[in-house]
């Protein structure tokens, strides 16, 4: 462990700005959520009404979790922002840990450091310390911020602890993921997939009221700390313990492997390239196909689960005649509720597919930074064809994963209600209307790559902003034009009637403009080198 503190200072020196930005976004998000709820729902009766609506809308609970205390501002804040803040804290932790462990090994810098009088575990220890510190600071700021809003101190503290706790557990997940594979990209994928699975378990558990499922997920624990609703402090211990166990597991794994190696020994590859590997598009496909396959499988699994579950969401209404009566007078019913649930979940998948589109487009940036673009562009490959290869994978891939999710959800739901063919068509359509919005994200990433290659990270910031606008826009009653900044605000409803093609064409035009501008800018700029 010798040298841990020096390495922690090095990590801080390299990443203080982005990490502080993460911390600021998460804590401001929570405090702003609380202040918005206090402002928009000042009366206990208004809050109760909101709580009852939520209680009868499983689609909302799938996104956010259950309401434990609908009467207080704190209780509603905990319902609305705990999951979001916890997911962000988990993402922050995963990115910090991978960047300072596996990515360093992959880049060979760990060897430089490892040859110094530095302990074998110093590098992962420094990464864990940094992530733990960032989560702790986030929790403290949240607690202070919420208490500053006049909310009860115990609840504020519990809220902060829940968010930090989720971040800490995923610090552990990321450090273990970094032991399993030799690639930073794969390590990130494993950890983020675990986070996705945790979200899914909690969403299914909360929507279908299966407590056991929710308790299997660290994101479910974060809700079940019950901030502002009779705090359950022992749940915080679950976070602490799970994080410690995972860190210990990682340390054990690290002792059984060499620096730079993963647990899977590299296998030899082909002596010659396949006949089709002869164009920049083919190279982009060869490089990206593994990742796309992973995303496709994940979308198929998630789509199936949502599809199978959707019908039981309507059961809440079927079992409750008064609620059914109320909803039917509002123009809905059990089936409408199922549709709302499906539309909401497909909307989330649309955002996630936007993440795929950003990641796949930014492979361009990765290839350029690693100086793997130089040898390709020194052959008879025009820049625009090289860039269009990866962009094409991003566009086709995001459409493909959404189509797979729609097909899977349609099949699952159709089999449950005995109408597979009809539901497959309907849900495939509902999934595909998201495609132009995800493409807009690929367009943004392409524009940044061409114009501001140092700031490609802003594409991720755009994705998070759009997600927050979608999640909080209505609640904060933001003006239409602000909500309309997100391409996902323009996705037309597809389950309730014929689809309006105008917004889809509009999004397509925006994507084309952004991507073309990015391509043109890329053709005119210098390539980054070492």
């Amino acid at each position: 462990m010798t040298g841990t503190m020096t390495l922690t200072r090095l990590a801080l020196r390299r990443d203080r700005v982005p990490v502080l930005a993460w911390i600021a976004v998460i804590s401001v998000l929570v405090v702003a959520g609380a202040s918005a709820i206090a402002e928009l729902y000042p009366q206990a009766a208004q809050r109760l009404a909101l709580g009852v609506t939520v209680g009868s809308t499983p689609a909302l609970q799938a996104l956010t979790g259950p309401v434990f205390d609908p009467t207080s501002v704190g209780g509603l804040t905990a319902w609305r922002v705990t999951t979001m803040a916890s997911v962000l804290a988990a993402l922050m932790s995963i990115l910090i840990v991978t960047r300072h462990t596996r990515a360093e090994e992959e880049a060979g810098r760990a060897e430089l450091v490892g040859a110094c009088p530095v302990g074998r575990h110093a590098m992962p220890a420094a990464a864990v310390l940094m992530a733990a510190g960032a989560n702790l600071l986030t929790g403290v700021l949240i607690a202070l911020g919420l208490a500053g809003q006049g909310l009860p101190g115990a609840g504020a503290l519990a809220f902060g602890a829940a968010v930090s706790g989720a971040g800490w557990t995923f610090t552990g997940v990321a450090i273990v993921a970094g032991q399993l594979t030799a690639h930073a990209r794969t390590a990130n994928a494993i950890a983020v997939a675990t986070l996705g699975a945790a979200f899914l378990l909690r969403a299914l558990g909360d929507a279908a009221r299966i407590e056991t499922l929710s308790w299997l997920s660290p994101l479910g624990w974060a809700q079940r700390v019950r901030a502002f609703a009779g705090e359950r402090w022992w749940v915080v211990a679950l976070f602490a313990a799970s994080g410690l166990v995972l860190v210990a597991v990682a340390a054990l794994l690290a002792r059984r492997r060499d620096l730079g190696a993963g647990f899977v020994a590299p296998r030899p590859g082909p002596r010659e390239a396949a006949a089709w590997l002869r164009s920049p598009v083919a190279l982009a496909w060869r490089l990206q196909r593994g990742t796309l396959l992973g995303w496709t499988v994940a979308f198929a699994v998630v789509g199936t689960l949502f599809g199978v579950l959707a019908h039981s969401v309507g059961d809440v209404v079927r079992d409750n005649p008064q609620l059914a009566d109320l909803l039917s007078r509002m123009g809905g019913g059990a089936d409408a509720m199922t549709d709302t649930f499906l539309a909401a979940e497909l909307g989330v998948l649309g955002l996630v597919a936007g993440g795929y589109a950003v990641q796949a487009t930014l492979r361009l940036h990765g290839e350029e930074s690693a100086i793997r673009a130089d040898p390709v562009l020194a052959t008879a490959v025009p820049r625009r064809r090289w860039a269009a290869g990866h962009l094409g994978i991003a566009l086709a891939g995001s459409a493909a994963v959404l189509a797979v999710a729609g097909l899977a959800a349609g099949l699952g739901h159709g089999i449950v209600i005995g109408d597979p063919a009809g539901q497959v068509l309907r849900l495939l359509g509902a999934a595909l209307v998201q495609v132009p919005a995800t493409w807009a994200l690929a367009g943004i990433a392409m524009l940044l790559f061409g114009l501001l290659p140092r700031l490609t990270g802003l594409a991720w910031a755009a994705l998070i902003t759009f997600a927050l606008l979608g999640q909080l826009g209505e609640l904060l009653r933001l003006e239409d034009w602000i909500q309309g900044l997100s391409p996902f605000a323009h996705v037309p409803p597809a389950l309730t009637g014929p689809v309006d093609p105008a917004p889809l064409l509009g999004l397509g035009a925006v994507t084309t403009a952004l991507a073309l501008a990015g391509l043109l800018a890329f053709q005119r700029r210098d390539l980054r080198g070492n």
Partner: protein, 294 residues
């Protein structure tokens, strides 16, 4: 027309002038050595020639074309080996060689097989498992197996062992015999001396010397060490003599090559018992230029 013609080339990165009025001519069919200390602008020059960077001022003509505007057509006629070879971690060496060759417009499978044999490279290993030298071999084989007019090699042997370096020299000689032009940026002076017809030395983004090795040597000094019957007193006063040291009957000095004749006459008049006369090594030439800038 020469294969490469650069005049007054300027490339700025912010305030830093990476290239500051560079001149460079590579004649068709020659092996041209491009020498310079770290950070002197060699790689920047090559990247400008490849159209990866745009120059801020000056002129660069590559194979009668504009390296930026005609990049794609020109790249069919040249092959490049970067100084820092980075391969795709999940592609095997064989896949990378085939891919780069095909992107360039095709590669000679028989030549590839022969080169794999000569460089003793296992093409089935994945990119991330190669050592520095083996990554360099992958890039070299991909370049040498292509049928091109110009090879641009950026310190191509810095990671190769002596055995492989000998193979590399052999192949470069064959390339020249086949009429190809080679622009070889290098640090290894013995390699440049062994392979290059002409040399350009670059410092701080400017060419400080260019010509054949013989021409460059002519501009410099020969070092002489002589054992004499008696040390002539007027040796120190002779034009062109530098760094004279006398140790008993033994003298050592450097002499400007144009005054060599007079100095030798003076020595023979003083009764020569032993004489060592050594032409300047490229290293001395090189060091003189580098140190002059300090």
């Amino acid at each position: 027309m020469p294969a490469v013609l650069i005049s007054g080339l300027v490339k700025r990165y912010g305030k830093v002038r990476a290239l500051d009025g560079l001149d460079l001519t590579v004649r068709t069919g020659e092996v041209h050595g491009f020498l310079g200390p770290n950070g002197s602008g060699k790689t920047t020059t090559l990247r400008v020639l490849l159209g990866l960077l745009r120059a801020d001022a000056g002129r660069a003509v590559l194979l009668d074309g504009d390296p930026y505007r005609n990049a794609v057509e020109l790249h069919r006629r040249l092959a490049y080996v970067p100084g820092d070879v980075v391969l795709w971690p999940t592609l095997s060496g064989g896949e990378a060689i085939d891919l780069l060759g095909r992107l360039r417009g095709g590669l000679d499978q028989r030549r590839k097989a022969a080169l794999l044999e000569r460089f003793a490279l296992d093409p089935t290993r994945k990119g991330r498992t190669y050592s520095t030298g083996n990554r360099q071999k992958v890039a070299l084989i991909a370049a040498l197996a292509s049928d091109v007019e110009l090879l641009m090699l950026d310190e191509p042997t810095s990671g190769l062992d002596p055995l492989m370096e000998a193979v590399f020299r052999e192949t470069v000689r064959e390339e020249r015999a086949a009429g190809r032009t080679v622009l070889l940026s290098s640090h290894i002076l013995s390699e440049v001396e062994a392979l290059c017809d002409r040399v350009t030395i670059i410092r701080d983004g400017r060419a400080v010397e260019a010509g054949t090795l013989a021409e460059l040597r002519h501009l410099t000094r020969t070092s002489i060490s002589a054992e004499l019957d008696r040390v002539p007193g007027d040796l120190a006063r002779l034009e062109g003599v530098h760094d004279l040291t006398a140790d008993g009957s033994r003298v050592r000095f450097h002499i400007d090559t144009e005054h060599l004749d007079k100095a030798l006459k003076l020595l023979t008049e003083s009764g020569v018992r032993g004489l060592t006369c050594r032409p300047p090594t490229l290293e001395e030439l090189f060091l003189r230029h580098y140190e002059a800038g300090r």
